[in-house]
């Protein structure tokens, strides 16, 4: 192997050797510069992360956190409430069902309802086996009866049939959407002649208040051999919307009834029919009454319900109703001298300065909300402009410093290399 070439490289002077030397020196300098740049950049990013972390800690003010707590609490409450409403059961639907399904000559003496298992236990008497059979058949045919079990009957002391029956009802009968009128499917009516004879007369309806109408009527003169056991009352509202059963059976021969929980200033039509052991008679003539109007009371509500700036993105104000302060955080650079607000206030209240009018928010602006009753409340509206982004300034200073350091390093290296070269020349 010939090592003379390597020896020549060391002793002889080649121009390209100088080029390579300068090139690797430049490479070394570039590497150091790269390292320095990464160090500087990493330090800058670390600063930025710290800034963002600080900003993150400042994001939720105490007011915002309180609002968050309230919103989360109500979100959960509304969810639970709707779930509860969905599963809410109305036991009175079962009564309407029983009343409508009870046949003539059948009497129930014991009633027991367990809404959990949808089970109804009944004990009673019937005039004869045919009446009982007809009663059981009516139950079986009803869509709300799922199962009839444990039926037993015996001849009682009064020559009547005594019976016990267990009925399992459809869960839907307890539902809110089940209309009582549909649960109370029609009883077998009396024949036409008899029904006309037990028709109540002289129905009078009088509005007693904004939510109460009192009904009174005259009992049928002829009860066709069987005393009146109760009255069925139907109501129509809106007028022309069709009558619905409000009381399937009053369970008493009393000829008055108070209809409560009505809407104010609303017209209601009523009709009444009598019930005896033969069944349900014909309806009385229809009578109408309108509930009293509610007295208009001027509202004292004078709150700002929302305060927005029509910017992009929209800026929503935080309303502190305790201290009557509205705070809005606008982005850096927003012209606060000319901001248009969109404000909503309590029903019937007015606000000054008005919503949609341009305002100068360089200092807090006082808004006055006046309620319907003339009382007023003042709100201080404060606009906070976000600080200019610090990142931009921080970014520039290290870059400038880096460039200066880089130039200094390059100059020092070049001078050093020239110095060495000159010294070597002199020594030759």
């Amino acid at each position: 192997m010939d090592f003379s070439a390597i020896f020549q490289l060391r002793t002889k002077k080649f121009w390209w050797m100088d080029v390579i030397l300068y090139f690797v020196i430049s490479l070394l300098v570039a590497t150091l510069i790269c390292y320095a740049i990464f160090l500087i950049k990493n330090s800058m990013i670390n600063d930025q992360i710290n800034d963002v972390n600080l900003a993150l800690q400042r994001v939720g003010t105490k007011l915002q956190r309180d609002q968050e707590k309230t919103v989360i609490n109500y979100q959960s409450k509304i969810g639970d409430f709707s779930n509860l409403l969905k599963n809410h059961e109305f036991a009175s639907n079962v009564f309407a069902f029983m009343e409508s399904q009870t046949m003539p000559n059948v009497w129930f003496k014991q009633f027991s309802l367990d809404a959990k298992s949808n089970a109804v236990q009944l004990s009673g008497e019937s005039n004869d086996m045919e009446a009982l059979s007809r009663q059981i058949s009516v139950f079986e045919k009803n869509k709300y009866v799922k199962n009839i079990g444990a039926l037993n009957s015996s001849l009682g002391e009064s020559a009547r049939i005594q019976f016990n029956v267990n009925i399992v009802l459809d869960q839907n009968i307890f539902g809110y959407l089940v209309d009582i009128a549909t649960v109370a499917e029609k009883n077998i009516p009396l024949d036409q002649d008899l029904s006309q004879q037990i028709k109540p007369t002289g129905l009078t309806v009088v509005a007693k208040s904004t939510s109460q109408i009192d009904l009174s009527w005259v009992a049928p003169a002829n009860v066709v051999g069987s005393p009146i056991l109760g009255y069925k009352i139907e109501r129509e509202s809106p007028v022309g919307g069709g009558f619905l059963v409000i009381v399937p059976n009053t369970g008493t021969a009393i000829t008055t009834y108070s209809d409560l929980n009505l809407e104010a200033s609303t017209e209601y039509n009523y009709k009444v029919s009598a019930i005896n052991s033969n069944g349900i008679g014909a309806f009385s003539e229809t009578a109408s009454a309108t509930t009293n109007a509610e007295a208009v009371v001027a509202s004292s509500e004078k709150n700002i319900t929302s305060f927005h700036f029509l910017l992009n993105p929209e800026v929503i104000g935080l309303i502190d109703l305790t201290n009557n302060i509205v705070t809005l955080n606008v982005p850096h650079g927003t012209n606060v001298k000319n901001l248009i607000s969109s404000i909503t206030v309590s029903n019937g209240a007015t606000i000054l300065p008005m919503s949609g009018v341009s305002q100068d928010f360089t200092s807090p602006v006082t808004y006055t909300v006046t309620a319907q009753d003339g009382s007023a409340k003042s709100y201080q509206v404060k606009v906070i402009v976000a600080n200019p982004p610090e990142v931009a300034i921080k970014y520039n200073i290290p870059v400038i410093l880096g460039v200066i350091v880089l130039i200094i390093v390059i100059i020092v290296v070049i001078v050093f290399v020239l110095f060495l070269k000159r010294k070597a020349k002199n020594s030759i």
Binding site: R10, F38, I49, L56, A91, K109, F111, A424
Partner: protein, 182 residues
Amino acid sequence: MSIDRPITIALILLIILLLVFFLVVPQYRIFTKLQSDLAEKIAEEKAQREYYVEIAKTYNDLYIHADDIKKIDDALPQDPVLAKLIYYIQDKAKLNGLIVKNLFLSKSSSATQQEGVTNNIKEIVFSTDLLGSYASLGNFLSSLEKSSRIFEVTTISFGAGSAGKSTSSSQNFSLQIKTFSY
């Protein structure tokens, strides 16, 4: 002084390699990681700000619907207030012509399970014996069902008099009434 060029070049290249592997590359890795961390933090901060804007909007919506919220608060009060409940049931019974013979709290649970989901609703169950007419019972049930507070009658049992007179005479009713608080 003359420098030995080939050795110097080799030495510098070695130094460059060492610098790249031990200083530049690790710093570059830190740099990329920090960049992604920063992007994550900025996104998190933006999401937090947007979240609180949404919270403020929802809070204002809650304020606008204060009447509806009050209905929910009435239906599911924060505090069960048993004394108020007992008075309410007694008052409703009296208004509808029923006499409360006895009334006792039979169960008060801290949470309920509905369709496998636990919620914060507490159940309060009362058992009561009432005396009055069948029509009064119907009106009483109707009053409870129309009440702003949620009531559910879970069991009802009663016995009537002799056949044909059952609807007009006074009877004993046993009821189990369930209500809720939050």
